[in-house]
């Protein structure tokens, strides 16, 4: 029915090396042409790949940028532990920008309301990111977004310029030809850079397998207390409690994406090794965002709207 996982794997290597070379080139261009870049690191699989690419681009030198995590406070413990440990292992600087601080300073209202289903701090993340960009005077932020994720992304450049308010204007993007990136900024502008734009979800998983990259444990099957809500499985946590009529089940699940735990769904799975996970992903019939991200289900143009407001 779908891509034979074995075929996909055997075909992977040289394609991955071509995508890898392209991404390394992009990272070195940014380091050369921009003054103060940063790399957004969430502990999720895409940003884990970015870290490996940065090693490939800059070792044995240090990364010419710090790592930044925009922290909603609603995290999986396993991911926070991984984030801190990975940054320490690499010997690179990690800046954690907290949505809670933005809320405490009264700059945004907390979108999360424990009594409201589906509420989250997803929207507030944007403000915290913009604050961090301003505070540290970052002019470029690497992100792990891919064009295969979503149709607004499919039209976004590798160098995606944002105005003072972080907004993306799809009608006014710079043409991007060959591998010649124009990183020159207007006053007040900054640029989001997506080195793995041309990778698919399967490419990311295969690369993780090829490179033997460690992932936070929640990417593999584990027992967890969950509730079913709108066809998705959510982890029960201090930030997400079962509502009336919902029953808590203990299931074997894994995560396909890692985000704010109030809006990131798990999938039922017994895949406990990377190879099992890659095989499952190759055979899957639903997109990553459709399966696990409540934030993109809100409307047909959800991502487009959020990007216009400064979201990644």
């Amino acid at each position: 029915m779908t891509i034979d996982p074995a075929d996909a794997r055997s075909a992977g290597l040289s394609k991955l090396r071509a995508l890898e070379s392209e991404a390394i080139h992009v990272m070195r261009e940014v380091a050369s042409e921009l003054e103060r870049p940063a790399l957004l690191f969430s502990g999720g699989k895409d940003s884990i790949v970015l870290l490996r690419l940065a090693e490939k681009a800059f070792r044995p030198g240090r990364f010419p940028f710090p790592l930044v995590h925009v922290d909603t406070g609603h995290n999986f413990d396993e991911v926070v532990e991984y984030r801190d440990r990975r940054a320490a292992e690499l010997g690179e600087r990690l800046i954690v920008a907290k949505v809670q601080d933005t809320i405490d300073q009264g700059r945004v209202q907390d979108g999360y309301d424990p009594s409201k289903q589906g509420s989250s701090r997803n929207q507030q993340q944007t403000q915290t990111l913009l604050d961090a960009i301003e505070e540290h005077e970052f002019d470029a932020c690497f992100g792990g977004a891919r064009r295969d994720e979503e149709r607004a992304r499919a039209k976004e450049r590798i160098f995606s310029f944002r105005d003072d308010f972080g907004g993306w204007d799809p009608k006014n993007q710079r043409p991007e030809l060959w591998n010649l990136y124009n990183g020159r900024l207007r006053k007040g502008e900054n640029v989001r850079v997506f080195p793995i734009s041309n990778w698919t979800e399967l490419d990311v998983w295969q690369y993780i397998e090829e490179e033997r990259l460690e992932l936070p444990s929640i990417y593999f099957a584990h027992e967890r207390e969950v509730v079913r809500r709108n066809g998705m499985l959510y982890a029960v946590s201090p930030f997400l409690q079962p509502q009336d009529g919902e029953t808590v089940e203990t299931l074997s699940v894994r995560y396909r994406t890692v985000g704010d735990l109030t809006i990131t769904g798990a999938v039922e799975s017994t895949a406990s090794t990377l190879q099992d996970v890659v095989t499952e992903i190759a055979a899957t019939r639903i997109t990553e965002r459709g399966e696990t991200r409540a934030d993109d289900r809100v409307s047909e143009a959800a991502m487009e709207d959020r990007k216009a407001q400064g979201y990644f």
Binding site: L177, W178, R186
Partner: protein, 457 residues
């Protein structure tokens, strides 16, 4: 459908793709394709068909499209063109704003498809999409035959140095698969392509709407028999040979970034200035042409200093050989002064012959603000950015007749030839010899916009 989609990997493909000198076939299974054609040619339907029949459409995407089909056309068949439906801004205005990228994999090859709008005002989008393409698919509507737009798209593909052009003659069902119609189009597209010097062309009859000869063969007339010479469009894309397209003759390594862990100015913490790294000096970059091997005698331009390649380093270990487009770190035997923008070339290279202080180029103008002779821009070429002055606009291409005509400037979406004077000399090649070292962009210093893509003559 009479034939199952052909997903079986061909064992010979990867072997064939390796080049004679035993170079790694780095792109053997990644093909970059650009599509040219307008909505009316059924381009969105074709792309939807490619994705759908090759089983690349996932359940939730299909559900979205089914719902949208019902909303728009009422109950009935699924409108595959909606699979590539883009942004809300576009849906509202009924236009395609920009190049969109799609990804699919079948068997042993993966595809990056740049979907570029085909209307005349979108020349810049097609140039953008074709700039990185190995192959361009030009859509032809069987009922209309070869029209002005077909010529224009073929011309742009040739201008951008695309060596493989495939004409997909669509809507064959609407002309009852009339062989004469197809042969006439085949003859005319072949003639145009030959005139333009495109080395590899194929003409393939299809019906994207009916799903004939795109991924599955379907029922086809006897004049298009089921054999290797009459592939489906997808089969052709799977087997077209592109690994020999890269330049393996002229070594070009533009230095992008210098890695010096121990140097002053490197903000490295304690662990990165370990003693063994004190003398470390690596030149990082992407090979733009030729073959790089340890022991090679090289010269660094523009200084002309000579040395020898000591190591080709990657995080995964040293390499015996590197070719385009590999990103590597080069070490030289001698402690020479090398920085970003310098280019490492072979020792035998005639430096003068590849050093340009002035150049002639075809440019595609991409800005609302017209180009006038005497204007100053920043020119970015490989890893060098320099000030450039457009001394003269030599001609402008009439995109209707494809004749060159006198011009005193270039407007948005114009293509024309210009003469440019450079403040800093560039190590470059004619575009058709090496796309990576023959291409440049022009940047407006006032707005920082990219205003043109250029190809050195």
């Amino acid at each position: 459908m009479s034939a199952a989609p052909d997903h079986a990997p061909s064992a010979s493909l990867l072997a064939e793709a390796g080049d004679p000198a035993g170079m790694p076939a780095l792109r053997a299974d990644l093909l970059r394709v650009a599509t040219a054609g307008s909505v009316d040619d059924g381009k969105s339907t074709l792309i939807g068909r490619l994705l759908y029949d090759s089983k690349q459409v996932l359940a939730d995407q299909l559900e979205q499209v089914e719902q949208a089909s019902v909303r728009r056309h009422g109950a009935g068949a699924v409108d595959l063109s909606l699979l590539t439906d883009g942004l809300r801004a576009e849906r509202e205005q009924g236009i395609t704003i920009d190049v969109a990228y799609r990804y699919f994999t079948t068997g042993d090859r993966s595809f990056i498809l740049a979907d570029t709008p085909g209307h005349v005002q979108y020349t810049r989008n097609m140039v953008t999409g074709a700039s990185t393409a190995d192959l361009v698919i030009v859509l032809v509507d069987a009922r209309q035959g070869v029209i002005e737009q077909t010529r224009r798209h073929t011309f742009i593909a040739s201008l951008l140095g695309v060596r493989h052009v495939t004409f997909a003659v669509n809507k064959m069902d609407l002309v009852d698969w009339d062989e004469d119609v197809f042969r006439a189009i085949e003859t005319e597209t072949t003639r145009i392509s030959t005139q333009l010097g495109i080395p590899d062309i194929h003409v393939i009859p299809i019906s994207a709407l009916q799903g004939q000869n795109v991924v599955d063969r379907g029922e086809l007339p006897a004049w298009y028999p089921e054999d290797d010479d009459h592939p489906t469009l997808l089969r052709h894309l799977q087997t077209v040979e592109v690994s020999t397209d890269r330049n393996l003759t002229d070594l070009r390594f533009p230095v992008q970034w210098v890695i010096r862990p121990g140097a002053a100015g490197d903000t490295s913490g304690g662990r990165w200035d370990a003693d063994d790294l004190h003398d470390y000096r690596g030149y990082a970059g992407q090979v733009a042409g030729g073959v790089l091997r340890p022991g090679d005698e090289v010269q660094v331009l523009p200084s002309g200093v000579r040395s020898r390649v000591r190591r080709i380093e990657t995080l995964d270990g040293d390499l015996d050989v590197a070719t385009a487009p590999q990103s590597v770190t080069v070490h030289l035997e001698d402690d020479v002064d090398v920085s970003r923008g310098d280019v490492i070339v072979g020792a035998d290279e005639d430096a003068e012959a590849i050093t340009f202080r002035e150049l002639e180029a075809d440019v595609c103008w991409m800005s609302d603000r017209a180009l006038r002779p005497g204007a100053r821009y920043l020119l970015k070429h490989t890893t060098t950015t320099t000030v450039a002055k457009v001394d003269a606009v030599l001609d402008r291409l009439d995109l209707h007749t494809l004749e060159r005509e006198d011009a005193d400037g270039l407007e948005l979406n114009d293509i024309g030839r210009v003469r440019i004077r450079l403040k800093r000399p560039l190590v470059a090649d004619p575009y058709l010899r090496d796309r990576a070292t023959g291409a440049f962009i022009l940047i407006d210093e006032g707005t920082n916009d990219t205003v043109a893509g250029g190809m050195i003559r």
